[in-house]
Symmetry: C2
Subunit: 216 residues, 2 copies
Protein backbone atom coordinates (compact mmCIF):
# COMPACT_ATOMS: atom_id res chain seq x y z
CA UNK A 1 0.00 0.00 0.00
CA UNK A 2 1.15 3.52 -0.87
CA UNK A 3 -0.46 6.48 0.80
CA UNK A 4 -0.08 9.90 -0.87
CA UNK A 5 -0.53 12.53 1.78
CA UNK A 6 0.77 15.71 3.39
CA UNK A 7 1.03 16.60 7.04
CA UNK A 8 -1.27 19.61 6.77
CA UNK A 9 -4.01 18.00 4.67
CA UNK A 10 -7.06 17.39 6.85
CA UNK A 11 -8.49 14.85 4.39
CA UNK A 12 -5.18 12.93 4.58
CA UNK A 13 -5.43 13.13 8.38
CA UNK A 14 -8.82 11.38 8.22
CA UNK A 15 -7.46 8.50 6.18
CA UNK A 16 -4.35 8.29 8.40
CA UNK A 17 -6.57 7.82 11.46
CA UNK A 18 -8.48 5.03 9.69
CA UNK A 19 -5.23 3.33 8.62
CA UNK A 20 -3.96 3.48 12.21
CA UNK A 21 -7.21 2.13 13.62
CA UNK A 22 -7.02 -0.79 11.18
CA UNK A 23 -3.37 -1.43 12.05
CA UNK A 24 -2.20 -0.72 8.50
CA UNK A 25 1.19 0.90 7.76
CA UNK A 26 1.41 1.84 4.07
CA UNK A 27 4.44 3.51 2.54
CA UNK A 28 3.87 7.24 2.84
CA UNK A 29 4.59 9.47 -0.15
CA UNK A 30 4.72 13.12 0.70
CA UNK A 31 3.01 15.56 -1.67
CA UNK A 32 3.91 19.03 -0.43
CA UNK A 33 0.78 21.16 -0.85
CA UNK A 34 2.64 24.29 0.22
CA UNK A 35 5.09 23.82 -2.68
CA UNK A 36 2.29 22.96 -5.10
CA UNK A 37 3.53 19.39 -5.67
CA UNK A 38 -0.08 18.27 -6.12
CA UNK A 39 -0.03 20.10 -9.46
CA UNK A 40 3.18 18.41 -10.66
CA UNK A 41 3.17 15.66 -13.28
CA UNK A 42 4.20 12.91 -10.84
CA UNK A 43 1.09 13.33 -8.73
CA UNK A 44 -1.28 14.24 -11.56
CA UNK A 45 -0.68 10.73 -12.87
CA UNK A 46 -1.92 9.37 -9.54
CA UNK A 47 -4.86 11.71 -9.12
CA UNK A 48 -5.70 14.01 -12.06
CA UNK A 49 -7.93 15.99 -9.69
CA UNK A 50 -4.70 17.09 -7.95
CA UNK A 51 -6.23 16.61 -4.50
CA UNK A 52 -4.96 14.62 -1.54
CA UNK A 53 -5.18 11.93 -0.31
CA UNK A 54 -4.78 9.00 -2.69
CA UNK A 55 -4.19 5.36 -1.81
CA UNK A 56 -2.66 2.61 -3.92
CA UNK A 57 -3.53 -0.92 -2.84
CA UNK A 58 -2.04 -3.67 -4.99
CA UNK A 59 -2.38 -3.41 -8.75
CA UNK A 60 -5.62 -1.50 -9.04
CA UNK A 61 -5.90 2.18 -9.97
CA UNK A 62 -5.40 4.77 -7.22
CA UNK A 63 -8.24 5.27 -4.79
CA UNK A 64 -9.20 8.84 -4.02
CA UNK A 65 -11.64 10.92 -1.89
CA UNK A 66 -11.10 10.46 1.84
CA UNK A 67 -14.58 9.16 2.71
CA UNK A 68 -14.54 6.66 -0.16
CA UNK A 69 -11.09 5.44 0.93
CA UNK A 70 -12.25 5.03 4.54
CA UNK A 71 -15.29 3.01 3.40
CA UNK A 72 -12.92 0.88 1.26
CA UNK A 73 -10.64 0.24 4.23
CA UNK A 74 -13.67 -0.69 6.31
CA UNK A 75 -14.92 -3.15 3.69
CA UNK A 76 -11.54 -4.75 3.04
CA UNK A 77 -10.29 -4.73 6.67
CA UNK A 78 -13.49 -5.07 8.72
CA UNK A 79 -11.96 -4.93 12.22
CA UNK A 80 -12.42 -2.67 14.07
CA UNK A 81 -15.44 -1.49 12.13
CA UNK A 82 -15.73 2.22 11.36
CA UNK A 83 -19.41 2.12 10.48
CA UNK A 84 -22.08 0.70 12.82
CA UNK A 85 -23.97 -2.43 11.77
CA UNK A 86 -27.48 -0.98 12.03
CA UNK A 87 -28.68 1.00 8.97
CA UNK A 88 -29.95 4.09 10.82
CA UNK A 89 -26.81 4.28 12.92
CA UNK A 90 -24.68 3.91 9.78
CA UNK A 91 -26.67 6.69 8.14
CA UNK A 92 -26.22 9.05 11.07
CA UNK A 93 -22.47 8.33 11.22
CA UNK A 94 -22.18 9.02 7.49
CA UNK A 95 -24.31 12.16 7.70
CA UNK A 96 -22.21 13.61 10.54
CA UNK A 97 -19.09 12.80 8.52
CA UNK A 98 -20.55 14.60 5.49
CA UNK A 99 -21.33 17.75 7.51
CA UNK A 100 -17.56 18.03 7.80
CA UNK A 101 -16.26 16.47 4.60
CA UNK A 102 -18.89 17.84 2.21
CA UNK A 103 -20.46 20.95 3.73
CA UNK A 104 -17.46 22.53 5.40
CA UNK A 105 -14.00 21.32 4.49
CA UNK A 106 -14.28 21.85 0.68
CA UNK A 107 -14.91 25.54 1.39
CA UNK A 108 -11.59 26.10 3.15
CA UNK A 109 -9.11 23.94 1.23
CA UNK A 110 -6.01 25.52 -0.40
CA UNK A 111 -7.52 25.84 -3.87
CA UNK A 112 -10.46 27.85 -2.47
CA UNK A 113 -8.21 29.99 -0.27
CA UNK A 114 -6.10 30.66 -3.37
CA UNK A 115 -9.18 31.75 -5.31
CA UNK A 116 -10.25 34.09 -2.50
CA UNK A 117 -6.79 35.65 -2.40
CA UNK A 118 -5.77 35.81 -6.03
CA UNK A 119 -9.06 35.99 -7.97
CA UNK A 120 -11.28 37.86 -5.53
CA UNK A 121 -8.37 39.83 -3.99
CA UNK A 122 -9.71 39.43 -0.48
CA UNK A 123 -7.43 40.63 2.29
CA UNK A 124 -6.32 38.37 5.10
CA UNK A 125 -9.05 39.51 7.52
CA UNK A 126 -11.77 38.75 4.94
CA UNK A 127 -10.26 35.35 4.22
CA UNK A 128 -10.10 34.51 7.91
CA UNK A 129 -13.73 35.57 8.33
CA UNK A 130 -14.69 33.24 5.45
CA UNK A 131 -12.83 30.33 7.00
CA UNK A 132 -14.24 30.94 10.48
CA UNK A 133 -17.75 31.33 9.10
CA UNK A 134 -17.83 27.94 7.38
CA UNK A 135 -15.93 26.14 10.13
CA UNK A 136 -18.46 27.64 12.56
CA UNK A 137 -21.50 26.66 10.49
CA UNK A 138 -20.41 23.03 10.60
CA UNK A 139 -19.59 23.24 14.31
CA UNK A 140 -23.06 24.66 14.98
CA UNK A 141 -24.63 21.82 12.99
CA UNK A 142 -22.52 19.16 14.71
CA UNK A 143 -23.12 20.55 18.20
CA UNK A 144 -26.89 20.88 17.60
CA UNK A 145 -27.07 17.26 16.52
CA UNK A 146 -24.62 15.73 18.98
CA UNK A 147 -25.92 17.57 22.05
CA UNK A 148 -29.57 16.64 21.44
CA UNK A 149 -29.51 13.15 19.92
CA UNK A 150 -29.99 10.13 22.14
CA UNK A 151 -27.69 8.27 19.73
CA UNK A 152 -24.68 10.26 20.88
CA UNK A 153 -22.63 8.24 23.33
CA UNK A 154 -19.02 8.15 24.35
CA UNK A 155 -18.42 8.90 20.68
CA UNK A 156 -20.51 10.71 18.06
CA UNK A 157 -22.58 7.63 17.18
CA UNK A 158 -22.88 5.38 20.22
CA UNK A 159 -19.97 4.08 22.24
CA UNK A 160 -17.65 2.96 19.46
CA UNK A 161 -15.46 5.01 17.13
CA UNK A 162 -16.96 5.63 13.68
CA UNK A 163 -16.20 7.59 10.53
CA UNK A 164 -18.08 10.48 12.18
CA UNK A 165 -15.47 10.80 14.94
CA UNK A 166 -12.67 10.74 12.38
CA UNK A 167 -14.23 13.66 10.53
CA UNK A 168 -15.10 15.60 13.69
CA UNK A 169 -11.50 15.32 14.91
CA UNK A 170 -10.17 16.53 11.54
CA UNK A 171 -12.59 19.45 11.68
CA UNK A 172 -11.60 20.44 15.22
CA UNK A 173 -7.96 20.27 14.19
CA UNK A 174 -8.70 22.59 11.27
CA UNK A 175 -10.43 24.96 13.70
CA UNK A 176 -7.27 24.94 15.83
CA UNK A 177 -5.10 25.67 12.80
CA UNK A 178 -7.24 28.73 12.10
CA UNK A 179 -7.47 29.79 15.78
CA UNK A 180 -11.21 29.27 16.11
CA UNK A 181 -12.26 28.74 19.73
CA UNK A 182 -14.10 25.47 20.34
CA UNK A 183 -15.50 26.56 23.73
CA UNK A 184 -19.03 27.15 22.34
CA UNK A 185 -19.14 23.50 21.19
CA UNK A 186 -18.77 21.41 24.37
CA UNK A 187 -20.07 18.12 22.95
CA UNK A 188 -17.80 18.36 19.94
CA UNK A 189 -14.90 19.16 22.25
CA UNK A 190 -15.65 16.27 24.60
CA UNK A 191 -15.71 13.79 21.70
CA UNK A 192 -12.51 15.19 20.21
CA UNK A 193 -10.73 14.96 23.56
CA UNK A 194 -11.93 11.38 24.01
CA UNK A 195 -10.71 10.43 20.53
CA UNK A 196 -7.33 12.09 21.01
CA UNK A 197 -6.65 9.83 23.99
CA UNK A 198 -6.62 6.96 21.49
CA UNK A 199 -3.16 6.35 20.11
CA UNK A 200 -4.47 5.79 16.56
CA UNK A 201 -5.79 9.36 16.56
CA UNK A 202 -2.89 10.89 18.47
CA UNK A 203 -0.21 9.41 16.17
CA UNK A 204 -2.12 10.59 13.10
CA UNK A 205 -2.15 14.25 14.15
CA UNK A 206 -0.83 16.59 11.42
CA UNK A 207 1.85 18.08 13.68
CA UNK A 208 3.23 14.59 14.43
CA UNK A 209 4.02 13.90 10.75
CA UNK A 210 7.48 14.17 9.13
CA UNK A 211 8.08 17.67 7.82
CA UNK A 212 5.48 19.31 10.05
CA UNK A 213 6.37 22.40 12.09
CA UNK A 214 6.02 22.35 15.89
CA UNK A 215 2.91 24.54 15.68
CA UNK A 216 0.88 26.39 13.05
Amino acid sequence: MQFYSFWRSLASFRVRIALNLKGLSPDVIDVNLMQGQQREEAFRKVNPQMLLPALLDGDGPPLFQSLAIIEYLDETHPQPRLLPAEPRARTRARALALIVAADAHPLIVPRVRDYLEHELKLDEAQRTRWIHHWLGEALNALEANLSTSSDTGRYAQGDAITIADICIVSHATGANFFKLDLAPYPTVRRIVETCMQNDAFARAHPLKQPGAPQSV
Copy 2:
Protein backbone atom coordinates in the same frame (compact mmCIF):
# COMPACT_ATOMS: atom_id res chain seq x y z
CA MET B 1 -41.96 8.05 4.40
CA GLN B 2 -41.82 11.84 4.23
CA PHE B 3 -39.38 13.54 1.91
CA TYR B 4 -38.52 17.19 2.57
CA SER B 5 -37.32 18.71 -0.65
CA PHE B 6 -37.56 21.57 -3.12
CA TRP B 7 -37.68 21.49 -6.89
CA ARG B 8 -34.49 23.51 -7.34
CA SER B 9 -32.36 21.68 -4.75
CA LEU B 10 -29.79 19.52 -6.54
CA ALA B 11 -29.19 17.40 -3.43
CA SER B 12 -32.95 16.73 -3.25
CA PHE B 13 -32.83 15.80 -6.95
CA ARG B 14 -30.21 13.13 -6.15
CA VAL B 15 -32.37 11.53 -3.47
CA ARG B 16 -35.47 11.80 -5.69
CA ILE B 17 -33.70 9.80 -8.42
CA ALA B 18 -32.76 7.12 -5.87
CA LEU B 19 -36.33 6.96 -4.53
CA ASN B 20 -37.65 6.57 -8.09
CA LEU B 21 -35.11 3.86 -8.93
CA LYS B 22 -36.17 1.96 -5.79
CA GLY B 23 -39.85 2.39 -6.64
CA LEU B 24 -40.55 4.38 -3.47
CA SER B 25 -43.13 7.17 -3.36
CA PRO B 26 -42.86 9.08 -0.09
CA ASP B 27 -45.08 12.04 0.82
CA VAL B 28 -43.29 15.13 -0.46
CA ILE B 29 -43.08 18.18 1.78
CA ASP B 30 -42.03 21.30 -0.03
CA VAL B 31 -39.48 23.57 1.67
CA ASN B 32 -39.21 26.66 -0.50
CA LEU B 33 -35.54 27.65 -0.51
CA MET B 34 -36.30 30.82 -2.47
CA GLN B 35 -38.63 32.00 0.32
CA GLY B 36 -36.15 30.93 3.02
CA GLN B 37 -38.49 28.27 4.46
CA GLN B 38 -35.45 26.17 5.37
CA ARG B 39 -34.73 28.74 8.09
CA GLU B 40 -38.27 28.62 9.55
CA GLU B 41 -39.05 26.85 12.82
CA ALA B 42 -41.05 24.05 11.15
CA PHE B 43 -38.08 22.79 9.14
CA ARG B 44 -35.42 23.59 11.73
CA LYS B 45 -37.10 20.96 13.93
CA VAL B 46 -36.57 18.44 11.14
CA ASN B 47 -33.00 19.45 10.24
CA PRO B 48 -31.31 22.00 12.51
CA GLN B 49 -28.66 22.43 9.80
CA MET B 50 -31.43 24.03 7.66
CA LEU B 51 -30.31 22.15 4.55
CA LEU B 52 -32.32 19.99 2.18
CA PRO B 53 -33.07 17.17 1.73
CA ALA B 54 -34.32 15.29 4.78
CA LEU B 55 -36.14 11.97 4.89
CA LEU B 56 -38.41 10.58 7.60
CA ASP B 57 -38.83 6.80 7.55
CA GLY B 58 -41.05 5.42 10.29
CA ASP B 59 -40.48 6.56 13.86
CA GLY B 60 -36.76 7.27 13.76
CA PRO B 61 -35.22 10.73 13.68
CA PRO B 62 -34.93 12.49 10.32
CA LEU B 63 -32.21 11.33 7.97
CA PHE B 64 -30.14 14.02 6.31
CA GLN B 65 -27.23 14.50 3.82
CA SER B 66 -28.09 13.25 0.34
CA LEU B 67 -25.29 10.68 0.01
CA ALA B 68 -26.03 9.20 3.44
CA ILE B 69 -29.74 8.97 2.56
CA ILE B 70 -28.96 7.24 -0.74
CA GLU B 71 -26.73 4.71 1.04
CA TYR B 72 -29.57 4.16 3.55
CA LEU B 73 -32.09 3.55 0.77
CA ASP B 74 -29.65 1.13 -0.84
CA GLU B 75 -29.18 -0.80 2.40
CA THR B 76 -32.86 -0.94 3.31
CA HIS B 77 -34.20 -1.49 -0.25
CA PRO B 78 -31.40 -3.42 -1.98
CA GLN B 79 -32.97 -3.72 -5.45
CA PRO B 80 -31.86 -2.33 -7.84
CA ARG B 81 -28.52 -1.77 -6.14
CA LEU B 82 -26.98 1.68 -6.41
CA LEU B 83 -23.51 0.58 -5.34
CA PRO B 84 -21.59 -2.21 -7.08
CA ALA B 85 -20.81 -5.40 -5.13
CA GLU B 86 -17.04 -5.35 -5.59
CA PRO B 87 -15.09 -3.13 -3.12
CA ARG B 88 -12.95 -1.28 -5.69
CA ALA B 89 -15.93 -0.60 -7.91
CA ARG B 90 -17.91 0.64 -4.87
CA THR B 91 -15.02 2.91 -3.95
CA ARG B 92 -14.79 4.40 -7.43
CA ALA B 93 -18.56 4.98 -7.57
CA ARG B 94 -18.44 6.70 -4.18
CA ALA B 95 -15.37 8.75 -5.12
CA LEU B 96 -16.99 10.02 -8.34
CA ALA B 97 -20.11 10.87 -6.33
CA LEU B 98 -17.97 12.81 -3.84
CA ILE B 99 -16.27 14.86 -6.59
CA VAL B 100 -19.74 16.30 -7.11
CA ALA B 101 -21.34 16.19 -3.69
CA ALA B 102 -18.30 17.17 -1.61
CA ASP B 103 -15.85 19.05 -3.83
CA ALA B 104 -18.22 21.05 -6.02
CA HIS B 105 -21.83 21.37 -4.98
CA PRO B 106 -21.19 22.76 -1.45
CA LEU B 107 -19.40 25.70 -3.10
CA ILE B 108 -22.43 26.85 -5.09
CA VAL B 109 -25.41 26.26 -2.77
CA PRO B 110 -27.69 29.18 -1.79
CA ARG B 111 -25.99 29.88 1.54
CA VAL B 112 -22.63 30.32 -0.21
CA ARG B 113 -24.12 32.43 -3.01
CA ASP B 114 -25.74 34.58 -0.30
CA TYR B 115 -22.38 35.04 1.42
CA LEU B 116 -20.71 36.03 -1.86
CA GLU B 117 -23.44 38.58 -2.55
CA HIS B 118 -24.18 40.05 0.87
CA GLU B 119 -20.93 39.61 2.84
CA LEU B 120 -18.33 39.90 0.08
CA LYS B 121 -20.47 42.26 -2.06
CA LEU B 122 -19.52 40.48 -5.28
CA ASP B 123 -21.39 41.58 -8.36
CA GLU B 124 -23.34 39.16 -10.53
CA ALA B 125 -20.49 38.63 -13.01
CA GLN B 126 -18.07 37.73 -10.21
CA ARG B 127 -20.60 35.36 -8.67
CA THR B 128 -21.21 33.68 -12.01
CA ARG B 129 -17.44 33.27 -12.52
CA TRP B 130 -17.21 31.63 -9.09
CA ILE B 131 -20.01 29.21 -9.89
CA HIS B 132 -18.65 28.37 -13.33
CA HIS B 133 -15.15 27.89 -11.95
CA TRP B 134 -16.14 25.27 -9.36
CA LEU B 135 -18.66 23.55 -11.62
CA GLY B 136 -15.89 23.40 -14.23
CA GLU B 137 -13.27 22.04 -11.84
CA ALA B 138 -15.52 19.10 -11.03
CA LEU B 139 -16.39 18.57 -14.69
CA ASN B 140 -12.67 18.49 -15.55
CA ALA B 141 -12.07 15.93 -12.80
CA LEU B 142 -15.03 13.80 -13.85
CA GLU B 143 -14.18 13.91 -17.55
CA ALA B 144 -10.48 13.09 -16.87
CA ASN B 145 -11.48 10.05 -14.86
CA LEU B 146 -14.42 8.83 -16.93
CA SER B 147 -12.72 9.22 -20.31
CA THR B 148 -9.56 7.32 -19.29
CA SER B 149 -10.73 4.61 -16.90
CA SER B 150 -11.40 1.12 -18.19
CA ASP B 151 -14.08 0.86 -15.48
CA THR B 152 -16.30 3.36 -17.27
CA GLY B 153 -19.03 1.59 -19.18
CA ARG B 154 -22.51 2.44 -20.31
CA TYR B 155 -22.64 4.29 -17.01
CA ALA B 156 -19.93 5.94 -14.87
CA GLN B 157 -18.97 2.69 -13.12
CA GLY B 158 -19.61 -0.25 -15.41
CA ASP B 159 -22.88 -0.97 -17.13
CA ALA B 160 -25.30 -0.47 -14.27
CA ILE B 161 -26.54 2.74 -12.68
CA THR B 162 -24.76 3.73 -9.46
CA ILE B 163 -24.68 6.60 -7.00
CA ALA B 164 -22.01 8.13 -9.27
CA ASP B 165 -24.49 8.57 -12.14
CA ILE B 166 -27.02 10.13 -9.80
CA CYS B 167 -24.47 12.73 -8.73
CA ILE B 168 -23.16 13.35 -12.24
CA VAL B 169 -26.70 13.99 -13.51
CA SER B 170 -27.38 16.43 -10.67
CA HIS B 171 -24.12 18.21 -11.47
CA ALA B 172 -24.88 18.49 -15.18
CA THR B 173 -28.32 19.84 -14.33
CA GLY B 174 -26.70 22.47 -12.11
CA ALA B 175 -24.40 23.37 -15.00
CA ASN B 176 -27.46 23.84 -17.20
CA PHE B 177 -29.13 26.06 -14.59
CA PHE B 178 -26.05 28.27 -14.61
CA LYS B 179 -25.64 28.19 -18.43
CA LEU B 180 -22.32 26.35 -18.44
CA ASP B 181 -21.69 24.54 -21.73
CA LEU B 182 -21.10 20.79 -21.35
CA ALA B 183 -19.57 20.40 -24.84
CA PRO B 184 -15.97 20.10 -23.49
CA TYR B 185 -17.04 17.09 -21.40
CA PRO B 186 -18.25 14.48 -23.91
CA THR B 187 -18.08 11.45 -21.60
CA VAL B 188 -19.99 13.24 -18.87
CA ARG B 189 -22.55 14.32 -21.45
CA ARG B 190 -22.94 10.83 -22.89
CA ILE B 191 -23.57 9.35 -19.45
CA VAL B 192 -26.04 12.09 -18.52
CA GLU B 193 -27.96 11.59 -21.77
CA THR B 194 -28.05 7.82 -21.19
CA CYS B 195 -29.36 8.33 -17.65
CA MET B 196 -32.01 10.83 -18.71
CA GLN B 197 -33.55 8.21 -21.00
CA ASN B 198 -34.42 6.32 -17.83
CA ASP B 199 -37.84 7.31 -16.49
CA ALA B 200 -36.61 7.31 -12.86
CA PHE B 201 -34.16 10.08 -13.77
CA ALA B 202 -36.48 11.94 -16.15
CA ARG B 203 -39.38 12.13 -13.68
CA ALA B 204 -37.03 13.35 -10.95
CA HIS B 205 -35.81 16.38 -12.93
CA PRO B 206 -36.14 19.67 -11.02
CA LEU B 207 -38.28 21.29 -13.71
CA LYS B 208 -40.79 18.43 -13.56
CA GLN B 209 -41.57 19.06 -9.88
CA PRO B 210 -44.65 20.91 -8.54
CA GLY B 211 -43.99 24.63 -8.25
CA ALA B 212 -41.09 24.62 -10.72
CA PRO B 213 -40.99 27.14 -13.56
CA GLN B 214 -40.84 25.97 -17.18
CA SER B 215 -37.19 26.95 -17.42
CA VAL B 216 -34.51 28.63 -15.30
